[in-house]
């Protein structure tokens, strides 16, 4: 079954809750209203002709200009080798989307990842907490307006340019070494004969050596 046929069956069942199919660029997708999302997913999984039993991917896209976070579901069926992509739009201020963890267990950790990186709350998720970042991390890094907090638990997140840092360290070490081993005092004034020696006697001895 092609994606557009799946989409037609969805629209026949749910009508307005499923949006139009996008242009077939890579994966044609359709927007779904958030409140009917779990019904749509359960229909996709349980209907005999569709049997979309594999949630391939669950991820999100942050659109600050549209003031929305889109949650994207890549769905596939092992039995019929067909799939469809669904998108749900949530507002950036308080992004909440119903959880499809009851439909596909694979969505459990993927929704936790979306929560971790975007801050989208999935209502009905049994264990919604951070999955990759440390538990006390502040902020949601994949949002477009994320600012780093300047380090974590006292470890700074800036590093001096090594060309500058190594030169500075070398100068410090040289200074320490010079202080530890003071240079010998300069020799007394050279003898007058050596200072007044003309260069010509020095030239002939140098010529045979060359």
């Amino acid at each position: 079954m092609t994606t557009s046929e799946i989409h037609q069956r969805l629209q026949a069942q749910f009508g307005e809750a499923v949006g139009p199919l996008s242009e077939p660029k890579v994966d044609p997708f359709a927007f779904v209203k958030p409140d009917r999302l779990v019904e749509v997913c359960r229909f996709l999984k349980d209907t005999p002709g569709l049997e979309i039993d594999f949630c391939e991917d669950l991820t999100a896209v942050d659109w600050p200009k549209r003031d929305a976070i889109e949650v994207v579901y890549h769905l596939y069926s092992y039995k019929y080798r067909h799939g469809i992509v669904l998108k749900v739009e949530a507002s950036r201020a308080a992004p909440t989307v119903p959880s499809v963890e009851g439909v596909w267990k694979a969505a459990n950790w993927m929704e936790r990842e979306v929560y971790d990186l975007f801050g989208v709350t999935f209502s009905g998720h049994p264990d919604l907490r951070r999955v990759m970042l440390p538990d006390d991390w502040v902020g949601h890094p994949l949002r477009k307006d994320y600012q780093e907090a300047g380090g974590f638990h006292g470890i700074p997140n800036l590093r001096e340019n090594p060309l500058v840092e190594l030169r500075r360290l070398d100068e410090v070490r040289m200074a320490e070494h010079a202080k530890a081993n003071p240079p010998p005092p300069p020799p007394a004034a050279p003898a007058p004969s050596a200072a007044g020696a003309p260069p010509s006697p020095a030239a002939p001895p140098a010529a045979p050596k060359a």
């Binding site: 990759m132 970042l133 440390p134 890094p141 994320y146 780093e148 974590f152 638990h153 006292g154 470890i155 700074p156 997140n157 800036l158 590093r159 001096e160 090594p162 840092e165 360290l169 070398d170 100068e171 070490r173 040289m174 070494h177």
Partner: protein
């Protein structure tokens, strides 16, 4: 140009080689049995495995891997260190017994490497533990890590038993160097 001259040229430590026989014997034993704590975090871990493998054999230098920090003399941090892992790294480093050393392997461990702009990557292992030898590369060849081990052996050979307490280490807050 031997190593001491190279180090002197870039302002490294210049230690006279007037160590006495006891130092030489003790350091010979120590340098040729340095056991390392496996700390392969990422791709450099594969090269670390080959460093212990048959071709660039670490075992011929006496360096065998230990899985526990309690039995390790030094630690090879191979791979990208994240902030989440940095606390565990410090914990394991604290569990090692003195005298202990750290080899930072690969550019991710040296300075954050390829992932320096990432939010979750610690920009260098020396922000957490003091490092003795930096081995550059992405990843460094096993032979390069062997060179790092030899440098560490030189460092150990130059130590003196009467200076049992090593010179004060830098704190992580200063960026890893005194």
């Amino acid at each position: 140009m031997n190593r001491d001259a190279m180090d002197a040229g870039i302002g490294g430590e210049i230690v006279t080689s007037h160590t006495n026989q006891l130092d030489r014997i003790i350091n010979l034993a120590r340098a040729n049995s340095l056991h390392y704590l496996l700390f392969g975090l990422a791709c450099c871990g594969i090269e670390l495995m080959q460093f212990g493998g048959p071709r660039a054999d670490a075992d011929r230098f006496g360096a065998v891997f230990r899985a526990t920090p309690r039995q390790a003399d030094f630690m090879i941090v191979a791979g990208t260190l994240t902030y989440k892992m940095a606390e565990r790294l410090k914990l394991l480093y604290d569990q090692m017994a003195e005298p202990k050393y750290v080899i930072s392997m690969g550019s991710c461990a040296n300075c954050g490497g390829l992932f320096q702009l990432a939010y979750s990557v610690c920009k260098g292992v020396d922000k957490v533990v003091p490092v003795d030898v930096y081995v550059p590369g992405c990843p460094p060849r096993p032979e390069a890590l062997t060179e790092g081990l030899l440098r560490l052996q030189d460092l150990v050979m130059r130590e003196r038993w009467k200076d049992k307490r090593r010179p004060p280490r830098a704190t992580p807050a200063t960026g890893g160097r005194a």
